[in-house]
């Protein structure tokens, strides 16, 4: 990835309205020196370059926006445009400040866009280079150099983090935390305690289900066994009684009568059910109502001979049945009124109802005795007969028992016990086998209910487990990220330290200085502070070493690169810079030209010399000497692109800084 600064334009700001073009021989100049005397808006220009590239103006307050307007200006907006190349493809950012609204707007242009697009939308692959922390590195000022050595600052660490995107680890952790918080807000209790409780409840239900299933199986076995024993016992009792000569016949008769009576009961019940199934027999009023219905339907002539279909078909004809033409209005009326008639299908149902009423209800002759009543009486009688037969049988047994047949007595008692027990088992089996009902809880003995509750609880646990597990995973992830981040930082720092120290031997060879370590700030070997010149030298060396790592080529934009350096250091820095970066753009003031610019010239790299100053009464005297072919004038600024003019430019009195 290669990024080059091609120039910028400013209009409507505190700094002069200018267009700065860094292109030289068709490509961005390798070294561009922009000479701007104090008060020309150098700081504003640099800030605007950073804000435009870094997308930071969007958060400015109205006051901050308004601060960029020149005091006596009536401009409603200010526009700052930065032109770049990334991998030789043009990329333009435009920032517009609305002084009235106090807002900032962005536009971007990239290859293939066909023009400027609203928003700050650079290609994805370059975005990270415009991250604020990264911009602060390559748009460099002397303060950063000081901060690199200041133990109260963390600029060195920030510089490393920015270039190597260490901040991504924190962003990953933040995303993971945000997701955890979202899940926590959305779900219910997500603590391990709740999970434990749910798991315990599930375990209990599973255990209970196992027990109930065993009980169910045991109950079925016991039922079968009891029924078998009951049968055997009944047979034994029968055989026993039949074995008693004077009781045999009576007993057999009683049993036969009982069986017959039971059969009668079943038959009578079936008969009665048959009568109940006939609605007209179930209740006389139903019969009357159905007849009443049929009579009224006939009176109403329902269903009519004419159906709704007839009228719908008629509406499609040209002539009515009476011969009159059917216009649109008549057609609509016919269609509306056809709804008052039954459809052919409904007519069919109605006819069928009337027919069944006629056949099933009305044609049946009135009987003296209601069939239902007869069926009820028959059943009642059969029940009575069954009761009597049963009592007869029981009486015989009782007589024998009372007469001393203890064995029979015991068998009868046992039989009663079996019958009671069978009832209990059947009741339990019914509960074991019933379907799930909403409202069932862990006290239920229904197998289906317990299985359903276990499933529901399992689903709930899965949900909670996912949440708890997710939390554990976020913690593990955070730990891994932290360790990786620290390890990465350390490896990078160790590697950088070696490279920076090697370069420092050359840059500050006259005044040797080495770094002991690179941490949050740069720690010097055997000394705690450095001169201004040394600080700047260390800063350049560190940053350019840093920026030179990897495959990317980033320009270095520097404000006052040599102001505080003495001559020899200026020379060294001037010699160093061309090797440290593929593009160097520097804002200088006239006093900085000596030694620094000379050493830059000797690099053999293409240099562009640009001088910018304000058009004011105080600079009026400079106008006649402008090299006409190389000067561009705007309403409030002058831009001169000329090396000789650059080197000889001098203001009689510099204006106050902005």
């Amino acid at each position: 990835m290669k990024i080059e600064l091609a120039g910028w334009e400013s209009e409507g700001f505190r700094c002069p309205n200018v267009k700065v073009d860094l292109i030289s021989n068709g490509v961005p100049a390798s070294i561009a020196l922009i000479q701007m005397p104090n008060g020309t808006g150098k700081t504003s220009t640099l800030n605007l370059i950073k804000a435009t590239l870094g997308y930071t103006a969007r958060t400015w307050t109205s006051k901050e926006v308004l601060a960029y307007r020149r005091i006596d200006s009536e401009d409603l907006t200010g526009r700052f445009t930065v032109h770049l190349y990334f991998d030789d493809k043009p990329l333009t950012f435009e920032l517009t400040l609305d002084y009235t609204a106090g807002t900032a707007k962005y536009r971007t242009s990239t290859p293939g866009d066909g023009g400027m697009r609203d928003g700050w939308v650079p290609p994805h692959e370059v975005r990270r280079f415009f991250h604020k922390s990264f911009l602060d590195l390559f748009i460099f000022d002397g303060e950063l150099a000081n901060n690199l050595l200041n133990e109260k600052e963390t600029s060195a660490a920030h510089a490393i983090d920015a270039l190597f995107q260490i901040y991504l680890f924190e962003e990953i952790e933040s995303t993971s935390d945000s997701e955890w918080n979202r899940i926590k807000r959305g779900g219910g209790a997500t603590t391990s305690n709740h999970l434990t409780k749910c798991r315990s409840a599930e375990e209990n239900l599973i255990k209970k289900l196992e027990i109930i299933k065993k009980k169910h199986n045991a109950a079925k076995s016991e039922l079968a066994e009891k029924q078998k024993r009951l049968e055997e016992l009944t047979r034994k009792i029968d055989q026993h009684i039949e074995g008693i000569d004077d009781k045999r016949t009576a007993y057999e008769d009683a049993r036969l009568e009982f069986e017959r009576a039971k059969g009668n009961v079943e038959k009578s019940a079936t008969n009665l059910m048959g009568s109940i199934a006939m609605p007209h027999r179930l209740y006389a009023g139903f019969s009357t109502a159905l007849t009443d219905l049929r009579v009224h339907l006939d009176r109403l002539k329902l269903p009519e001979n004419t159906s709704a279909q007839f009228f719908k078909e008629l509406s499609e004809d040209e002539l009515c049945v009476c011969g009159r033409p059917i216009d649109e209005s008549a057609k609509n009326e016919i269609i509306n009124r056809s709804k008052l008639y039954l459809g052919e299908e409904q007519a069919g149902i109605l006819n069928a109802i009337k027919s069944d009423v006629s056949d099933l209800v009305e044609t049946v002759p009135d009987e003296l005795n209601d069939p239902l009543d007869i069926a009820i009486k028959d059943l009642t009688k059969a029940l009575r007969a069954r009761k009597i037969a049963q009592t007869s049988e029981e009486s015989l047994k009782k007589e024998l028992i009372d007469g001393g047949d203890t064995e029979l007595g015991e068998w009868e008692q046992q039989k009663n016990e079996y019958e009671e027990r069978i009832k209990v088992i059947e009741f339990a089996l019914e509960e074991f086998g019933r379907p799930y009902r909403s409202g069932d809880d862990q006290s239920s003995n229904s197998i289906a209910s317990l299985e359903r509750q276990i499933k529901d609880l399992g689903d709930k646990i899965a949900g909670i487990t996912d949440t708890v597990e997710f939390r554990e995973q976020t913690k593990i992830l955070a730990k891994i990220l932290k360790e990786t981040k620290n390890e990465a930082r350390q490896l990078i720092r160790n590697s950088l330290l070696s490279q920076v120290n090697t370069r420092l031997k050359s840059v500050l060879g006259h005044d040797p200085l080495q770094l002991q370590s690179i941490g949050k700030y740069l720690v010097l070997e055997r000394q705690s502070g450095a001169s201004v010149g040394q600080t700047l030298g260390i800063g350049y060396t560190f940053l350019t070493t840093l920026l030179g790592r990897g495959k990317h080529k980033i320009p270095l934009v520097v404000d006052s690169p040599a102001g505080s350096l003495d001559d020899s250091v200026r020379t060294e820095v001037g010699n160093l810079i061309p090797d440290l970066t593929h593009q160097f753009v520097s804002f200088v003031i006239p006093p900085e030209r000596a030694y620094f610019v000379d050493s830059l010239k000797r690099s053999g790299r293409s240099l562009k010399y640009i001088t910018i100053f304000r058009k004011t009464p105080g600079t009026e005297y400079l106008m006649p000497d402008l090299p006409k072919q190389h000067a561009t004038l705007t309403n409030d600024g002058v831009v001169v692109v000329d090396d000789s003019y650059f080197m000889n430019f001098k203001l009689e009195k510099e204006e106050s800084g902005v």
Binding site: T288, D292, R294, L342, I353
Partner: protein
């Protein structure tokens, strides 16, 4: 939608349902339906949020033989419920159109089937109120049911004209 039976009705009838002459769930439905029609009682909508199940989509033997009579009773009951005299031709026609659909296997529109289910649900409520705890013996229940239904229908004579 089909014929609906409340879970509570299934539970209440569970003992007799297992015994002859009860053979199908439609037997239970029919008993409830007739009680509902006799009482002129439909279950209020909010009560019908109680869980129920569609148990069958068509009339079941032996009731399919009397399907038209049941439809006739429904038509009669609904006209009476809405205060429509059987002499009001247009209104009766509207009721017929609303209740019957010959294309459907039940012969009823969704509204018609809903009305029938509503009477069945209301009839079950009536049976529980009048007969109390769930029945145990089918033969005893049948006799008591007939007696209960007659009493219920007689007490709402405005619905069903006395046989003359």
């Amino acid at each position: 939608m089909g014929f609906k039976l409340r879970d509570s009705a299934t539970e209440w009838f569970k003992n007799v349902r297992k015994q002859k002459p009860f053979a199908t769930d439609f037997d239970v439905y029919y008993f409830c339906l007739m009680a509902g029609l006799a009482a002129g009682r439909r279950s209020p909508e909010d009560v019908d949020k109680e869980s129920s199940r569609d148990f069958v989509q068509h009339f079941v033997s032996p009731y399919v033989t009397y399907k038209k009579l049941i439809q006739g009773l429904l038509l009669y009951a609904e006209n009476r419920r809405m205060g429509i005299e059987l002499t009001e031709k247009k209104d009766v026609q509207v009721t017929i159109n609303e209740l019957f659909d010959p294309e459907d296997v039940t012969g009823l529109t969704p509204k018609g089937l809903e009305a029938l289910n509503s009477y069945a649900a209301g009839g079950f409520d009536e049976l529980v109120e009048k007969m109390g705890e769930k029945p145990f013996k089918a033969e005893d229940f049948l006799i008591r049911y007939c007696d209960t239904l007659r009493k219920v229908a007689s007490s709402s004579d405005r619905w069903w004209p006395n046989k003359t």
